[in-house]
């Protein structure tokens, strides 16, 4: 069937607007900060067979799993209980395709004149799911059974009526059911918006035409990606990241092979599954592979299932990136999956560097690992809980032509933003001591990685003067933002608990010093478990700087001068790492710089060894 190019373009454009309006509804009805600000959501439209037609700009690594949710519901439940007009299904089982249990999918079929014409599916990160720890990440979990309410597909609305027994059962199993209910309402409303607008579109252009356009949209994306892959050489590129946990070191290894117009991501060599929730199931890992692929190589294509067709993902069963049920996966999005995102980006960047035409698209790792903590406590008898948002600000990896963007976010979720300090100070009973850049955090290189931030908080106006923390962090040993093509890695993350710092008194007397080491008391690196902060204590979290690009000794000395002037790089490292000599007025001493750099190169040659040694 031939659709004229203008009608095609009108329908294609309209489908994207439908998703936008669906997201607007989602945010409007929810009104919650993680959804509205953090953009921790995904909305997608699917063809009747469950293939992704059009995906929005959210957390890209969700898209393949969301498609699996739809396909699974079609396969398993078409006959029993059946799929009817006006239905809605819940799905959050990581072993079917969800990332982890708090990420709840709501899947709605769209019918026109009794015929199934599309699906609308979305997910949000629910604030609680009834796991062994409150708040959505459960460090105490040892198996999926500790991770709260978990369904591989459950009809929650039938023919437009909410099923009371299903609804009540779910609310019975979660903490803060009113907030969870609100989020679910917003997801249902978003799908209703999408459904109505798709029906309007089909009514105007006919089911056959819209169906044909949606089929062709996928074929076009597939064709464009295959054509692009054929423009570059074949090869195999490797990347490896480590999970430095309290329970040992786990390795995620990736070999990315491009052959002709196909890409194969092979995770052979990855560590066996972990006893804690670091694991990530298979479909999210597929998401992790394509999440950097879409914005780095497919930026001018529609993001849909067509782009998945040239891609194969192999993940060894029983490994951290394809655990066997009932392995725990609660922290997947901050560990296993995140590492898959990172190695996929690293390997892809190396491939792009050798691609000729697309070299400029390569970039070092951004953000590294989401280092966030759950805080909860009471203020004026009200229970308050939140996760710290600063990690979403990330750090930009260096590019082949420019530095990484300071606090530039991440590649795989293009539109996030963090709440204000003032927002947080009324969401949880704390007061910030600072939220500021970390100088020298960017990975050195010809182009440096972007800086990241650190923050510190102390209990404030909280019951008993204390707050509770749930910690599930990593990244204190392995530098998550590795450099590219000779660039150095960005800074490590860390969580420090400071006790007996006499914070309140210190604030009263003289305010916060520039260096918190000046404060009294003990500061301990504490990455995992439950902790309590008292009035005299504070928590300090360091995020991770972006990876650098190219040998630091090749960086233009004028750029280094600018770095020192702006406080981005310290004078010490300007000399020690970049080999640039500046005078008292911070002018570049060209001769001395050349001599120093030559000396540093001689040192390298003197101390480097052959690989066989």
């Amino acid at each position: 069937m031939k659709v004229d190019p203008f009608t095609f373009e009108i329908i294609r454009h309209r489908l994207f607007r439908i998703i936008e309006e669906s997201i607007i509804t989602l945010k409007h009805v929810s009104g919650s900060s993680p959804t509205v600000d953090g953009n921790d959501l995904v909305v997608g439209l699917y063809r009747p067979d469950g293939s992704l037609m059009m995906g929005a700009l959210g957390y890209l690594h969700v898209l393949p799993g969301a498609g699996q949710a739809v396909k699974h519901i079609i396969k398993e439940y078409s006959e029993n209980p059946g799929i009817f007009e006006g239905d809605a299904f819940l799905m959050n089982d990581p072993y079917v395709g969800a990332l982890h249990t708090p990420d709840m999918y709501v899947v709605t079929p769209i019918h026109y004149n009794g015929q199934l014409v599309a699906w609308s599916s979305n997910f949000v990160h629910l604030r609680d799911i009834g796991a062994i720890n409150p708040g959505g990440f459960a460090p105490d979990s040892r198996e999926i059974f500790h991770e709260g309410f978990c369904t591989p597909g459950l009809k929650v609305i039938e023919r437009g009526i909410v099923k009371k027994d299903v609804w009540r059962t779910m609310m019975n199993m979660v903490r803060m059911p009113e907030i969870v209910a609100l989020d679910l309402h917003s997801q249902i409303a978003a799908n209703i918006t999408a459904r109505q607008r798709v029906i309007d579109l089909v009514a105007k252009y006919g089911a056959e035409t819209v169906g044909e356009v949606s089929r062709q949209i996928l074929d076009i994306s597939e064709k464009l990606l295959r054509e692009r892959l054929l423009e570059m050489p074949d090869g195999t590129w490797h990347a490896r990241q480590y999970l430095d946990s309290h329970a040992g070191t786990f390795t995620v290894t990736l070999a990315l092979t491009k052959k002709g117009d196909t890409l194969t991501y092979d995770f052979a060599g990855t560590s066996p599954q972990a006893p804690f929730g670091f694991n990530s199931t298979y479909w999210p890992v597929v998401g992790g592979c394509i999440a950097p692929l879409f914005p780095m190589l497919c930026f001018d294509m529609d993001w849909n299932e067509g782009l998945l067709r040239p891609v194969t993902v192999k993940a060894p069963e029983g490994s951290i990136v394809n655990p066997i049920r009932p392995a725990p996966v609660t922290i997947a999005t901050l560990s296993g999956l995140e590492m898959a995102d990172n190695v996929a980006l690293e390997a892809l960047s190396k491939m792009l560097l050798a691609s000729g035409k697309y070299r400029q698209e390569a970039t070092a790792v951004w953000l590294g690992a989401h280092l966030t903590i759950t805080i909860y406590g009471y203020r004026n008898k009200g229970y308050m809980v939140s996760t710290t948002p600063e990690n979403m600000g990330g750090s930009g990896g260096a590019r082949t032509f420019k530095d990484g963007v300071d606090y530039g976010g991440q590649v795989i979720n293009p539109v996030a933003r963090i709440p204000n300090v003032e927002s947080m100070e009324t969401s949880v009973p704390i007061m910030y001591l600072f939220r500021r850049l970390i100088p020298d955090s960017g990975g050195p290189g010809k182009y440096r990685g972007g800086l990241t931030t650190e923050f510190a908080m102390t209990p404030h106006d909280s019951m008993n003067g204390s707050v509770n923390l749930v910690l599930y962090g990593r990244g204190q040993d392995f530098t998550q933002c590795e450099g590219l093509a000779g660039g150095y890695p960005g800074s490590n993350g860390a969580i420090y608990i400071a006790r007996g710092a006499g914070i309140k008194k210190r604030l009263m007397d003289g305010g916060i010093p520039k260096d918190i080491k000046e404060l009294s008391g003990t500061q301990t690196l504490t990455m995992w478990g439950a902790q309590q902060l008292g009035e005299d204590d504070f928590v300090n979290v360091w995020l991770m700087g972006g990876g650098g690009y190219g040998d630091p000794l090749e960086r233009d000395p004028d750029l280094v001068k600018g770095d020192v002037e702006s406080g981005t790089v310290s004078l010490r490292y300007a000399t020690e790492i970049y080999g640039v000599v500046l005078d008292a007025k911070l002018n570049v001493r060209a001769e001395e710089t050349k001599r120093r750099r030559d000396k540093m190169r001689k040192y390298r040659l003197a101390h480097a060894k052959k690989l066989s040694d």
């Binding site: 900060s33 996030a416 963090i418």
Partner: protein, 704 residues
């Protein structure tokens, strides 16, 4: 100041033109126009007024001496940001948070304001440079908490040291922004006091005065923008006053603010950020005024020109305020009429995607330079304007009232080469299809605007302004299922018209978080203070009691939900009662669900008051929107003949009319085109337009 006597003149500086409107004692309106002069805006302003003087056969000094009110919308602020004409400013902020301005809330600064195509391509995106560079940001010892308690006071010696440093470094302007300053401004005020005493000639912007709202990033960004803009904008306004005075003007110069009120030069100089987008704000005021006259309460006002497409919404005769504002990717948070921006306009480029052969509209734009091909200024890419020329909707000889001749030949040639031939279509067919595509896409973007605001377009009337909107307006209306399209008589100068249909207005706030229902004694105390400050201010400006109008509102939100809404308080007397407050709470919940959808209000979480607001209006006598005698339905005398134009893919012999000669009562059956000095009104075959008694063009969509 004398009000409501002699001439009132409004002037709006736009991207291409500076428009002017004069209203005399009888309510008679005269329009004027001149090219804008960005290198020295006041030149264009005077020229636009001279244009009116000429029409009225007066000398400019004569006209100005009879003018009592000069109402001005200026683009000086936006322009300064674009050209970089910004003062050297320093920022004083809470120690530990010096980087907040630079951080731009994480990735937010990197992607906001970019088209979707760029957002999908993060490696190629960057944040705009920080408004004030880090080396001019100074964190000082101080801290206020969320309740407004001073946790750490100011250290005077520290501020004095800074001040001396500023003097040495030649700092021209200072911004001060502390955390929670709007809850308790003690520390900011202390700093201001010290700075004023040591640096009397340096302007100081205080965040609690400028933008007393929660959210330190937007507040510090507003403060920084204001500090950098203040010297340029203040100088411009002062010089304008002097210039007018020299030319015989003895009246009052008032300046439009983005929240839709006029303020004195003194007031405007304190909050120059409020000047940003004052032109579009005036446009909305004008739509509101016209709507009030003709009895239309729900309006979607579309202003599409060559480079921008702005949409304002009026519901029940009022409009909403924006909660997040941007100027060129910089964020700020000042009271501002909510105006949406559609990412396509007349200059959007039509192109064929080489790999797929699909036709696309934008996001690239030819802008005003090099502009559409037909402008003959070097543009080589077909634009929406070029497409409209090919369709026969534009008169190449009469474009912009004859000021510009269009090159049809070149346009057709390039369009054929770049669009119709790659598509293997005839030129007419291709242009017609492009028109459909453009209308569908822009219609969908307009629809999104209505969804974002929770309104049903079927209850609205579409007003059309700007050089390009009326060519597409009926099609937009069909997309949205809007019932009526109106091109107001004042469309060609609607910014200036909006200025003269506005009042002097001031916003007074106190941001204070309180559980709802609140203690009424405290509420009434807060409002009492706000109201007396408001009345004092208007009295000082010369308004008698009978011209002062006070309205009160509270901004409410549900706990756990981020969206806050300004909710009017209806109160019988000066003191607000408990019952009236309860009613306000009910009204808020209703408005919330109207805006955000049924079931969206999380009532069980409880409500909170976020801020208290008093809007103080000093009324100015408005122009009379004159009613004309209805003459008859035959538009024959305005006809300039039949021409070929494309409708529904076919060339159709179309009647062309000149607007100036049309009379109230005239009915024009489509297909027809009305030529006005700044735009063309396209009436499709199945529609008809009529001229109402105000000389507005009205199209009742789908009635035939």
């Amino acid at each position: 100041m004398v009000l409501g006597v002699a001439f009132v003149v409004g002037v709006d500086v736009g991207g291409t033109f500076t428009d002017s409107v004069l209203v005399d004692e009888d309510g008679e309106i005269t329009f004027g126009k001149a090219l804008s002069t960005p290198s020295n805006f006041s030149e264009g302003v005077l020229n636009a007024i001279s244009d009116i003087a000429q029409t009225k056969k007066l000398g400019i000094e004569d006209l100005l001496s009879k003018t009592n009110l000069l109402l001005h919308c200026t683009t000086i602020a936006e322009n300064a940001i674009i050209t970089g004409d910004l003062a050297k400013a320093a920022l004083i902020t809470t120690r530990g948070f010096e980087d907040i301005l630079y951080l731009q809330r994480g990735a937010y600064g990197r992607w906001s304001g970019l088209p979707e195509e760029m957002i999908k391509h993060p490696v190629m995106t960057d944040k705009p440079p920080s408004v004030i560079p880090r080396k001019l940001v100074y964190g000082v010892r101080e801290r206020t908490d969320y309740k407004g308690e001073i946790v750490v006071p100011i250290s005077d010696p520290e501020i004095r040291r800074l001040a001396k440093g500023f003097a040495r470094e030649g700092v021209e302007s200072v911004g001060v922004c502390f955390l929670w300053s709007f809850q308790n401004a003690t520390n900011e005020k202390r700093v201001a006091k010290i700075l004023h005493s040591l640096l009397p000639s340096v302007g100081v912007t205080l965040s609690h005065e400028l933008a007393p709202f929660v959210g330190e990033y937007e507040r510090v960004s507003s403060t920084a923008l204001n500090a950098r803009l203040a010297p340029t904008a203040t100088t411009y306004l002062k010089e304008l006053e002097v210039l007018f005075s020299k030319k015989g003007f003895k009246g009052t110069l008032l300046v439009m603010q983005a929240y839709g009120g006029l303020v004195s030069v003194k007031e405007a100089s304190k909050k120059v950020v409020g000047l940003i987008e004052s032109g579009p704000a005036a446009g909305v005021m004008g739509s509101q005024f016209i709507g009030g006259i003709i009895g239309t309460k729900n309006i979607i006002a579309c202003d599409m020109g060559g480079t921008s497409f702005k949409v304002g919404v009026i519901t029940n005769g009022t409009f909403d305020y924006a909660t997040e504002s941007q100027i060129l990717r910089y964020h700020y948070n000042l009271p501002k009429i909510d105006i949406a921006s559609i990412g396509a306009a007349g200059g959007s480029i039509i192109w064929i995607e080489p790999r797929t052969g699909l036709p696309k509209v934008g996001p690239d734009s030819a802008g005003s330079s090099p502009g559409p091909i037909c402008y003959d200024l070097g543009g080589e890419e077909p634009t929406i304007t070029d497409n409209n020329l090919i369709l026969g909707y534009l008169d190449p000889e009469f474009f912009l009232g004859g000021r510009m001749k269009l090159n049809s030949e070149k346009t057709r040639q390039i369009f054929e080469k770049k669009v119709s031939r790659p598509l293997k279509m005839g030129t007419q067919e291709a242009a017609s299809s492009v028109y459909k595509l453009v209308n569908s896409q822009m219609g969908a973007l307009l629809h999104k605007v209505t969804v974002e605001r929770g309104l049903d377009p079927r209850d609205y009337v579409l007003f059309s302004f700007g050089g390009a909107a009326a060519i597409h307006a009926v099609e937009f209306a069909r997309e949205l299922e809007v019932q009526k399209v109106i091109i107001p008589m004042t469309a060609s100068v609607h910014g200036a018209f909006g200025a003269i249909s506005s009042d002097v207005s001031h916003e007074h706030f106190t941001t204070r978080q309180m559980d709802f229902p609140p203690p009424m004694s405290e509420v009434n105390k807060i409002f009492g203070d706000l109201e007396s400050a408001a009345r004092d201010q208007l009295r000082e400006e010369g308004f008698p009691e009978k011209r002062i109008r006070i309205s009160k509102s509270v901004t409410l939100k549900f706990r756990l939900q981020v969206y806050a809404l300004d909710t009017p308080i209806v109160s019988a007397g000066g003191i607000i009662t408990e019952a009236e407050m309860e009613e306000t709470g009910r009204r808020f919940a209703e408005l919330y669900e109207q805006r955000h959808g049924k079931g969206s209000a999380y009532k069980d979480a409880g409500m909170q008051i976020v801020s208290f607001r008093v809007r103080a209006v000093g009324t100015i006598t408005k122009p009379t929107y004159r009613k004309y005698e209805v003459v008859g339905d035959d538009p024959g005398s305005a006809s300039i003949g039949q021409r070929d134009a494309v409708f529904g893919g076919k060339t159709v012999s179309t009647k062309f009319y000149k607007y100036d000669a049309l009379k109230p009562g005239n009915i024009l059956k489509g297909p027809a085109v009305i030529l006005t000095p700044i735009t063309t009104v396209v009436i499709p075959a199945t529609e008809q337009a009529r001229i109402d008694e105000y000389r507005n063009i009205v199209i009742d969509v789908g009635r035939n």
